[in-house]
């Protein structure tokens, strides 16, 4: 048997040990091994190695899959992390809503009315829990308020 044959056959030996060869390749290997002790010994070594593969920890796949899934999820910010910006915005009176202005207006409850200056203030319906503050109201607004009260009293 020539070295050329051995060189070709040795390329196939790992495949022969794992049933990865075509039938033609397998026939060539088996035919060669009948007369080549050197290649037969090499195949025996490969088969020995494959008979004792390193044991893979049984839980490894689960651990890896869990770790990968966790790493792909966006990190959740703690509630206090979010509120820092929100609190600052509220303290500054900044409207942080993403709603269109029309939707915000529609969502304002009925007891809130608008003054001529565009400032929002609460009517008496909205101040049931406390003393109405009349400070700063214009004369016109005060008059409107009196008229409302008189009308309700008459009713």
């Amino acid at each position: 048997m020539s070295h050329t044959d051995c060189g070709m056959i040795r390329e196939y030996l790992p495949g022969a040990a794992t049933d990865r060869l075509s039938s033609g390749e397998l026939d060539a290997v088996q035919g060669h091994l009948l007369s080549c002790e050197d290649c037969a010994a090499e195949l025996e070594l490969i088969q020995m190695l494959r008979a004792a593969p390193p044991a893979v920890p049984t839980e490894l796949a689960d651990h890896v899959a869990t770790a990968v899934r966790t790493s792909r999820r966006p990190a959740r910010r703690p509630w206090w992390g979010i509120s820092a910006a929100a609190v600052a915005a509220l303290a500054l009176g900044i409207n942080v809503s993403t709603e269109p202005r029309e939707q915000i207006d529609a969502a304002i409850p009925g007891f809130v009315s608008e003054t001529a200056e565009g400032e929002l203030w609460l009517s008496d319906d909205g101040l049931l829990a406390g003393e109405p503050s009349l400070e700063g109201l214009s004369d016109e607004a005060l008059m409107e308020l009196l008229e409302e009260l008189e009308a309700e009293g008459a009713a």
Partner: protein, 185 residues
């Protein structure tokens, strides 16, 4: 060598990768289950420590899935994954230094497929001895033999993984096999 991306009868690796990119966690699980063992054997072959190899595999998979959009598909996913694992294992060794080399009689427990009949005890011991001898080879020879025998990779793929040419991978493999045969005599 055959393409074994469908060896478990499921979707191909390419299909699973595409689904993974869309956030399909079942596809992620399937890819991990299909390739974690090969990655572990590569990591163990380089680091020689079970606990370190497990950490390496976990980190390698996390990095691979983060970089999944960069996977072009011109290499098999398994080879790509194993290459990332090998790089991660080498980086771990560089970071922590090499651990004590395993003694021949101080290797990890081996998984033997055969049952335990007395008549197979000699064969089992010989297999374990061959594995232990494999651990004594230089890294590139050890990896070349392991990747060829255990994983069925081509010499081109092995060359990519060990950072050498296809020809150098072939030489490393045959030198390793030759050396193992000498050690086993």
């Amino acid at each position: 060598m055959t393409d074994d991306s469908r060896r478990d009868g499921g979707a191909s690796d390419v299909e699973l990768v595409e689904r993974c990119r869309s956030g399909d966690e079942a596809a992620l699980d399937a890819l991990v289950r299909r390739h974690h063992a090969s990655a572990y054997r590569v990591a163990l072959s380089i680091t020689r420590r079970d606990d370190v190899a497990q950490d390496v595999v976990q980190d390698a998979f996390i990095k691979a899935f983060r970089a999944l959009n960069g996977f072009r598909g011109d290499a098999a996913f398994r080879t790509w994954m194993m290459t990332i694992t090998a790089n991660e294992a080498r980086a771990t060794l560089r970071k922590h230094g090499r651990w004590r080399e395993s003694a021949i009689d101080d290797v990890a427990p081996m998984a033997v497929d055969d049952p335990d009949p007395a008549e197979q005890a000699v064969a089992r011991r010989e297999s374990e001895r061959a594995r232990a001898m494999l651990e004594t080879l230089p890294e590139k020879q050890r990896l070349s033999v392991s990747l060829r025998v255990d994983e069925g990779l081509s010499f081109r793929e092995i060359g990519e993984m060990i950072g050498s040419s296809e020809g150098a991978a072939r030489v490393n493999y045959f030198h390793g096999i030759r050396r193992l045969r000498e050690l086993m005599q």
